[in-house]
Symmetry: D2
Subunit: 165 residues, 4 copies
């Protein structure tokens, strides 16, 4: 019914702690558990495309993500992505899908879901709240705001997304 797909690509959102390495790494995504906790009345498809820190995202991976969005039969798509290059990836998605009637929202987290005081669940909830009410297009949502994909940048000094003037 609700016709929604989530693609995960890693990012801070999905990082976990590896006790042997002593650092944050990627294993399986938290999205399955998160969606179960959200107690939705409808099904959501969750698909992991990759699981990396977005600093290591390549343009060829971005093309793959854009292609996945393009080929998805759902017209509402949420992409979980690292914050550092989320804006760059959004351009690939827009360019690939701009002639489709799809609402695509990229979101992520400043603090991993698995850690205290995370913003991951709030951001995901925001993306859900926006996606059913937004026109077709490609958007980024972080920190309680939704931006057109080409009108936003990450202010790395303060760790927040801001409108591009």
């Amino acid at each position: 019914m609700q016709n929604l797909r989530i693609f995960t690509t890693g990012g801070t959102f999905d990082k976990r702690y590896d006790p042997i390495k002593g650092e944050l790494v990627f294993k399986n995504t938290h999205l399955v558990q998160i969606i179960e906790n959200a107690k939705l009345n409808y099904d959501v498809k969750i698909e992991s495309i990759t699981a990396i820190d977005s600093l290591f995202m390549t343009d060829s991976l971005r093309e793959e993500i854009a292609k996945k969005c393009f080929e998805a039969k759902e017209d509402k798509i949420i992409v979980i992505h690292g914050t550092d290059t989320m804006v760059r990836t959004s351009k690939f998605i827009y360019n690939k899908c701009k002639e489709q009637n799809k609402t695509i929202i990229l979101t992520g987290a400043m603090v991993p879901f698995a850690l205290e005081n995370s913003d991951a669940l709030f951001n995901l909830g925001f993306a859900f709240g926006a996606i059913f009410n937004k026109e077709y297009g490609t958007y980024i949502t972080m920190g309680g705001q939704i931006f057109d994909y080409d009108k936003v940048y990450k202010n790395k000094e303060i760790g927040k997304f801001e409108e591009k003037k």
Copy 2:
């Protein structure tokens, strides 16, 4: 800028465990911490009207909540409310505020914010995502859906909100 106010009234969302009583009770709201974690780029006013299980909500309290919504200078209002009588309270709010240009969303949680696997943060994020994109009106959001205040009921068998046929 964003012009948003949150009223808290208690509900499952805000329950905490009292180790002496051995039961879930209300102390101060979690909303202040939650909003801090959400890393918003704008201010949100948080005001506690009451802190009760919504089974004990009276119509006179509902009138007070509706009056608070009516008098608020913000035109976007989120009301945190217990799920059992959220629908009834929404009618009082609608009736009081229907001629104002305000978007008012009631939300809550099936599992308290302070417990594992809570849906509280997701629901709040959803309310934020919806409130900037919805027409004026009174709505309820739970479980990844948003409903007109008069077209929803809580299915207590399964613990989910459903559209009223």
Copy 3:
């Protein structure tokens, strides 16, 4: 090697929230996950005898718990138990096992493991730390202290265990 068995009986320690009922209930024990997280170098057997609030513990159930302790082939036993009648159950265990060479420690929690700010994990860790260093006998540990089973009571006013004068 370490020769340790844990019996669970429910209690605040193991309560979970039931979103349909809106109250704390018992499902499966958290001990399996907890022991996995503790990253032990040895095996621990975990066995659930019952899963109830200790206010509802009957003397016949206490006899069953005592019998389980008596029959256990391990000589170090931790019993997870509700705090309200933990002291009473400890007497049954002592009476049944007093002629065995076993160190038996009852512990529990004032705040469920599944909730914020729980003391469950600390108390369990304390029981482990004590059990390898204590003489044979039956003990209760709560709040960073270990008591002989017959020299302790729960001060319900302040929610702490104290030495009986």
Copy 4:
């Protein structure tokens, strides 16, 4: 009464996530909150000596930690320390304090307290459970075991402490 002091030095135990840097760092210690949650019936002094990853611990810092243990008026001391060089630091403490009648236990965590599935609270509880029952000496406790300071090493392959043969 219980005459216990905790020194914190950082380590994995006390790491927090810094959303701007995107990595685990040290801010204030979690020990104050943890001790409050443990609901002890007695006072514990908590003192932060430093807050670093133990890979960066220098011998001169180790001497300072040992001196703090030596000068402490309490005869039971828990030192929170990173796991990678905990064993080395324990030798400095032993050498400095060996003629004092003190029980000193070093412990830490493989997973930070602030993250899901942490062993921090269990290890701390274990240290408390052991410290009231152990002879004078310097010990290390991790993973549900307590070792003499000079009979243990960290097996970095599996992330566990083992007895040195």
